[in-house]
Symmetry: C2
């Protein structure tokens, strides 16, 4: 099992007849999935998603893959295949299209519809190529075949890539619900046929590789929702992902069966459900839907809200209800159903929402106390099926952190793959498929690119480091005016501080010392502002550390007038 | 079921013959447990713990209860009972003793030993009263009886408080392991006897009230640890809480049985295990222990490390091993056993540690894939036993967030308690026990008191708000020097910025505009520095928001020379 070492250098030129695979995101992390395939100078990209920031990236809105590796070769891109419509697979497309707007976007009907709505918000009209499962279509040297896969959004695809260097299968995100709501099964027979033809490299979803067994069917949630509706005596509020059309369908069906009306709450929920309904992915019985404004006309036992906010997002409707900061007032006896996963990192926010709702008397149903969520990703048992059906010559686990990719590798070994046919790569690691063998040959930069407000890439690691210090300790700024000709200090040093938690009066103790030190320096003929700044920084820094055991950022400002 | 409303005002004077109960911490949160009992002007305190900050409290080291409610009455405190030695029950004692150093501290042998070691670090020599289960002892009007309880630290106690106003039972943290490692069972017969005498108010641990059933015995972890030792071919590193003496005992026993040596790593682990060994709570076979420095002399298959860092604390040995920043280098084949809970809020840190260790080839065993942790808190099934044995006239759920306290109340209702005998209170809510009934009568301030570095309470909510803004957006400071007599601008305005992610060159665009605006203001005779600052703040603020859609903190500085 080969895995990268920190000392990996730039890769050698790609050997003739070889295929190069570089993930710019999605390996060693859950999110910003993007894989670049290169053959004979031509490029194919699969997915182009975003990663959502953690507390390590304060103030950042989104994290993009670094496009630098392909920036000079965007004209060589034959196509960008989008496996499905989740943000971590399509979210970075607007940013890539800013650099070349006519890259052909290849995907299923729903995927392209969701993507086009998003691109419309960015005022981009893309070139799209709609495909469907079973279809084959070539883009330059890449001969693509699309396979239906089941996931937590309809119309997801895996993609087979035939090249002169060998055949690949990229699963995208998938699982294998054997009783899917829409009857659209993951195409195992297709995988088997393609495997029989010979798959040289399998790239497969590792997200749930640590989870033993099989994912329960989405269908099994339905009786649980039904039971919640049976018991509820007041309003029902369901929070789930705005893209989980099948989950919403089950809620609509339950509402219909129980004679309740439904209102959608939250911009993305309203938008996506409109698209899904228009395209026929969501089936809405006659007069089931009402506007959120007309909820007041309904009795509590007639109303259902389907809302975003299942991850405790601060501005979401659900969080505002928990804080009594929303037109919908939670009352004793309301039922809140959190019909979604709990994305790692959101535990505290969701917990705060649950406590807030509980405080107002709501009863909370969540995945911790009822089967109201099933994962969208194949568990270990399902991954074994795929490995045994496809019988790939090489495996590259994708979509996962180290722990998940390694667990996936262990599963492959159990199925009989040998260690040296399994490549665990990180973002930017270059994998070359040559003469039937996949090997790591180097690495290219694949760091985080931060979106903050309207700017992309302006916020750097160094700015984030400053934010972390400022966020933990605040700052102290000392402004000293100096006569530029005589070097004499003019007036008293001035203190400006925020977040340091040190009382303004406290500085009376240290400012005279700083003034003295500056006077002495001036007397010694020191006029270099850098030296004076250093003097101030040290004086204040030592005082704060000794008196308070803290390390706020210290900004000495010497104004020469 | 009565629960507080935001409009609660100050309580009326305590009625004659009544007992007042005010929790200054631990209700509506997990941590900083502290409950104050008042009868006839005399006070009894049970526990005095700290809460650990979340990302909402950046830079804060610890959160204390607000002592303000009792600050003027510290001389009326008869005793401070410590139910056990965990930080969330004893961590704030040094800070309370700063205000009155001779408050009698009442607790079991281990609790007082751990507390004294801690107070020694603060150079405080406390007044202590060592008690043991079954003992009865009066402090003013409070007649105390101590009951053995089982918890995730040895020697924990529940306390019965007999007063002329009625009898209370405060469980502290507890569970009911029926096969405890030390044979010391939670004293249910004692609870039953006290219940038969008549318990007017039960205050009981709600932490696990949402968890159905019963906590597995600590003893059941032993065969799992054994299996890990059987399989491990290289080093074994066990991370667990430094106070979980029974967990460590099981690791020592396994190491002994497998012919391995053990080194303790981490200051608190070394300190606590020394105390536990000296007092006989930890049984260490002959030459089992080695110094961490002599680990290099052992073959990997002979070595076990027992370390802190199970919560992914950034400076802990385990985190540093994951980052290859520690003398112990993780190698392919090492086994890391995370034998602890995952405290909510620490998921990301622990996940990063697991990924880091996995990257170097370690195999990770944790509560997600093996029974290597059991909780220290009674589950719903156990809480029912206590309710049915004690048969309290009133219940006040303690130690829990809203969701836990409400779940506890629901359990009590199942056992037949009527709604109006259950009091769900928050921190600071005043509960009076009068004529056999517990009722909410008001509220007193019970906010967070922050410890940051050496200072207590200097860091306020407003400083934290500043930190949050600085941490998300950084700041821009604009320094303008003004002639104090003429009001004329001297030199050019100067920009200092950190964390804003806006390139220094970008300011060339806005600085001339600011200078112009200031010149015009000067021409109009505006010399008030506050007005000039406002002018600068608006000019920069509007520019940043329009150009970048961001809101950094803006600090205009006008220096008059």
């Amino acid at each position: 099992m080969s895995h990268p070492h920190p000392e990996l250098g730039p890769p050698p030129p790609l050997a003739e007849g070889a295929l190069r695979i570089v993930a710019l995101g999605g390996l060693g992390e859950i999110g910003r999935n993007m894989t670049v395939f290169e053959y004979a100078g031509r490029l194919l990209i699969v997915d182009c998603g975003v990663l959502f920031p953690e507390e390590e990236q304060p103030g950042v809105d989104l994290i993009l893959p670094d496009f630098d590796y392909i920036r000079d070769r965007l004209d060589d891109v034959e196509a960008l295949v989008l496996t499905h419509g989740h943000e971590d697979h399509i979210g970075a497309v607007p940013f890539l299209l800013r650099e070349r707007s006519d890259i052909p976007l290849v995907g299923s009907r729903l995927t392209l519809s969701l993507l086009s709505a998003k691109l419309g918000e960015h005022r981009i009209k893309p070139e799209t190529v709609q495909v469907t499962e079973g279809e084959r279509r070539s883009f330059g040297p890449f001969d693509l075949e699309f396979f239906a896969v089941n996931h937590s959004i309809p119309d997801a695809l895996a993609v087979g890539v035939r090249t002169p260097a060998g055949n690949l299968l990229h699963t995208g995100d998938f699982k294998m619900d054997q009783l899917p709501l829409d009857g659209r099964l993951t195409d195992l027979p297709g995988f088997a046929r393609y495997g029989a033809e010979g798959v040289d490299l399998l790239l497969a979803d590792s997200t749930n590789a640590e989870v033993p067994g099989f994912v329960t069917s989405e269908r099994d949630i339905s009786p649980v929702i039904d039971k919640v509706f049976d018991k509820a005596e007041q309003r029902i509020i369901v929070a789930c992902f705005a893209s989980h059309i099948h989950r919403v369908q089950q809620v609509l069906d339950a509402a219909h069966a129980h004679g309740r009306k439904v209102a959608f709450v939250g911009r993305s929920m309203v938008r996506n459900m409109n698209i899904a309904r228009d395209l026929g992915y969501l089936n809405v019985p006659g007069d089931l839907l009402v506007d959120v404004k007309s909820l007041d006309d309904l009795r509590p036992e007639e109303a259902v809200l389907v809302s975003t906010g299942s991850q405790g997002e601060p501005m979401s409707a659900l969080t505002r209800m928990a804080n009594r900061d929303h037109q919908i007032r939670i009352e004793e006896g309301d039922t809140v159903l959190l019909a979604s996963s709990l994305i790692p990192g959101n535990e505290n926010s969701v917990n705060r929402v649950i406590n807030g709702l509980t405080r107002w008397g709501a009863k909370i149903v969540h995945k911790g106390n009822a089967l109201v969520h099933v994962s969208g990703h194949a568990s270990a048992g399902e991954l074994m099926y795929v490995l045994n059906m496809v019988k790939p010559k090489n495996l590259m686990p994708v979509h996962g952190e180290w722990r998940h990719m390694r667990a996936h590798a262990n599963i492959a070994k159990l199925t009989g793959m040998s260690d040296d046919r399994i490549v665990i790569a990180e973002d930017g690691v270059v994998v070359d498929l040559h003469k039937g063998r996949a090997r790591i040959t180097g690495a290219v930069p694949a760091g985080y690119v931060y979106v903050d407000g309207t700017s992309v890439g302006d916020v750097t690691e160094s700015a984030l480091k400053d934010r972390r210090i400022l966020g933990e300790e605040g700052f102290i700024s000392i402004v000293v005016a100096v006569d530029s000709t005589t070097g004499k200090i003019l007036g008293d040093p001035e203190i400006h501080t925020r977040g340091s938690g040190i009382d303004a009066d406290a500085y009376d103790e240290v400012l005279p010392k700083i003034a003295d030190a500056l006077e002495r320096a001036a007397a010694d003929g020191v006029t270099d502002p850098a030296q004076l700044r250093q003097l101030v920084r040290r004086g204040i820094g030592r005082w704060v550390n000794e008196s308070y055991r803290r390390r706020p950022m210290i900004i000495p400002v010497v104004v020469e007038v």
